[in-house]
């Protein structure tokens, strides 16, 4: 009798189909792009232009003191937008802290999406109304939430999926591991999207992991890993949509690595020249997600001045509206500090609330 005959050892999953391809999947500029229809590419284009403008505007708002901080996703608009568009309304999005753009592309009010970074509250939108989890900074901690929610939906018989986003740095956290493992064991309808943008603040990928690719991590959980050009909006969308459909249909989780690049500094407060060369940034600019789309549209003879202007105008409208509304002072009520700590305040909280109320009263009178 060999160990193979014994009950505990069974090669349970064939690893081969779980392994990612050696090169990131691309569509734009390849013959396969022929199957994409013009309208779809035009839509993507408009979204990306709008996304880029949003990043620029938000960064400008930090300079004007209207945002505490902004982690820009300039250069990553393709993945940000594709993630949101890959979902149906009843699906859930679990963004990482950099993914304000995904949240906005999903339909959340651009101002409400900035509440955390503006600093008037922690979350500005109703997560249940939008099926978008709160933007929050502890890295990778949102991943088990996504698994739990997806699992709960499945237990409830609801055919929905959750898409959870994380950065390359975040994959080093224990929560990443635990979430992927739970997802695979439970066959939860969840898709993990890692945006590998080359850096975790100043730390380059080579100091973050020695894996052949982040997508290769999937096989260790028994789920498929997919590698995609993160700047190719059509490719990211296709891969994510397929994974989300598969999850929704009971096929289990997928890990998708989108290879991209963070063009701006980590946040407005960061000085990226301390840890990387401009040459690297310039190399990536040549592979800009908007430029990739423009080239495809040009090839098709669809990129005329009107389309450009139309996209730019709509982006500008959004930016103007954002500017205007962000320059207005947010509604602030210090008593809110006590409003939602617990359903019922403790006696201690009631006492503290009274203290603050008295202080505010005194302030008003002085």
């Amino acid at each position: 009798m060999t160990v193979l005959d014994t009950p505990a050892w069974r090669p349970r999953t064939d690893p081969a189909p779980l392994l990612p391809d050696a090169e990131p999947y691309r569509l734009l500029g390849t013959p396969d792009a022929a199957r994409l229809d013009d309208a779809w590419l035009t839509t993507l284009y408009g979204q990306l232009v709008r996304g880029r403008r949003y990043n620029q505007q938000a960064t400008a708002l930090t300079k004007q003191g209207r945002l505490a901080v902004y982690p820009s996703s300039t250069g990553q608009e393709a993945a940000e937008v594709a993630a949101a568009l890959a979902l149906r309304p009843e699906d859930w999005l679990f963004p990482s802290y950099r993914d304000t753009l995904s949240v906005v592309a999903r339909g959340v009010d651009p101002v409400e999406a900035l509440t955390l970074l503006r600093g008037d509250w922690h979350t500005g939108y109703d997560p249940r109304a939008h099926r978008v989890a709160p933007l929050s900074t502890p890295l990778a901690t949102q991943l088990p939430h996504a698994v739990g929610l997806a699992h709960a939906a499945r237990l409830s018989g609801d055919a929905i999926a959750a898409l959870a986003m994380v950065g390359d740095g975040g994959t080093s956290e224990g929560d990443f591991h635990e979430a992927l493992n739970f997802a695979a064991v439970w066959q939860a309808p969840v898709v993990f999207l890692v945006q590998n943008n080359g850096f975790a603040i100043s730390v380059p990928l080579a100091k973050q992991t020695a894996a052949p690719s982040i997508a290769h991590k999937a096989v260790g959980y028994g789920m498929p890993g997919r590698l995609v050009d993160g700047n190719d909006a059509a490719a990211v969308h296709e891969v994510l949509a397929a994974a989300v459909d598969r999850a929704r249909g009971g096929g289990g989780p997928t890990l998708v690595e989108a290879v991209t690049y963070r063009i701006d500094a980590h946040t407005n407060a960061d000085d990226a020249t301390r840890y990387r060369d401009d040459a690297e940034v310039e190399a990536w600019r040549a592979h800009d997600p908007i430029a990739l789309l423009e080239r495809e549209l040009t090839r098709r003879g669809r990129l005329d001045d009107e389309l450009r202007r139309e996209a730019a105008d709509r982006a500008e409208e959004m930016a103007a509206d954002l500017r205007r509304r962000m320059h207005a002072e947010p509604r602030l009520d210090p008593m809110d500090l006590f409003a939602h700590v617990l359903a019922e305040p403790t006696p201690q909280l009631r006492e503290q609330r009274a203290l603050l109320r008295a202080e505010l009263e005194a302030e008003r009178q002085s």
């Binding site: 509250w121 922690h122 979350t123 109703d126 997560p127 249940r128 109304a129 989890a133 709160p134 929050s136 502890p138 901690t141 991943l143 088990p144 939430h145 996504a146 698994v147 739990g148 929610l149 997806a150 699992h151 709960a152 939906a153 237990l155 409830s156 959750a162 224990g174 929560d175 591991h177 635990e178 979430a179 493992n181 739970f182 064991v185 809110d336 409003a339 939602h340 700590v341 617990l342 359903a343 403790t346 006696p347 201690q348």
Partner: protein, 343 residues
Amino acid sequence: MTTATTTAGPARAATAKPVTMAQALNRALRDALAADPAVHVLGEDVGTLGGVFRVTDGLAKEFGDQRCTDTPLAEAGILGAAVGMAMYGLRPVVEMQFDAFAYPAFEQLVSHVARMRNRTRGALPLPITIRIPYGGGIGGVEHHSDSSEAYYMHTPGLHVLTPATVEDAYGMLRAAIASDDPVVFLEPKRLYWSKAAWPTGEPEPVPPIGRAVVRRPGRTATLVTYGPSLPVCLEAAEAAKEEGWDLGVVDLRSLVPFDEETVAAAVRGTGRAVVVHESSGFAGAGAEIAARITERCFHHLEAPVLRVAGFDIPYPPPMLERHHLPGVDRILDAVGRLQWEEG
């Protein structure tokens, strides 16, 4: 009132059947699962095995393994998944296998569980119950006897409950699961096998969260305690009679919210108090309790509120734990020092 057999509780009617605290907790879970399909139990070994303390015994069989689920071995993952489940409208009841094995979930607890309601202005309340067997006195090897209540008490956004009697174990766990807020539910390991007569018929109604109870009135001084130290305090109060002391005993039950009224009323009546718990004293629960009593009762106090707590040392190995745990003598010595301060 039902008290553990280690305490001097009133005898029950002959029809009542003796039940352990573990069984009462099991019944609470079963009743909660039956009453509300949103309730889901999850944790390590809670399914087929029924938990290492058998608190989830039979639940997977009765309600299926989707209602009572064996998870992979990862506490942050368990609690993190529970957050997501609660976001979707379920009421997860999570078991951490032992106190020290809840620490891997600390970030999820502090950074998310405790803050989600507040973060979202009430849009995402998290009705999660986190059951943690805690405390020593069971001969557990290192990492199996921690008392971690102070960490949780200091974390705004959580309720922290700990029953000391069989009856409370049932009622308080039902209340915890019924709460729309996260509750850290600390189960005193060494009382799991304490027994009490179980009321015939339906268990008593769910008590409100946040009410302390006077287990024993007294005139000389007040012992303020909770969880595993309640039986010890009741024993000390019995023994104190020999010294001519009439000691009152308050069982806090709920560490958050903290029932200042009940505690202050009891202490005002005696002018002297000793806070007793087994976790390390430094920056422990007793510090808050003593400071708060002093703030509220200063002019009624004849002596400073003293604390009898575990030493400020890592929890000792089984063969030495009795020297660490507050016992009757150490409590009475402290009471003696209160008397002395009077002079």
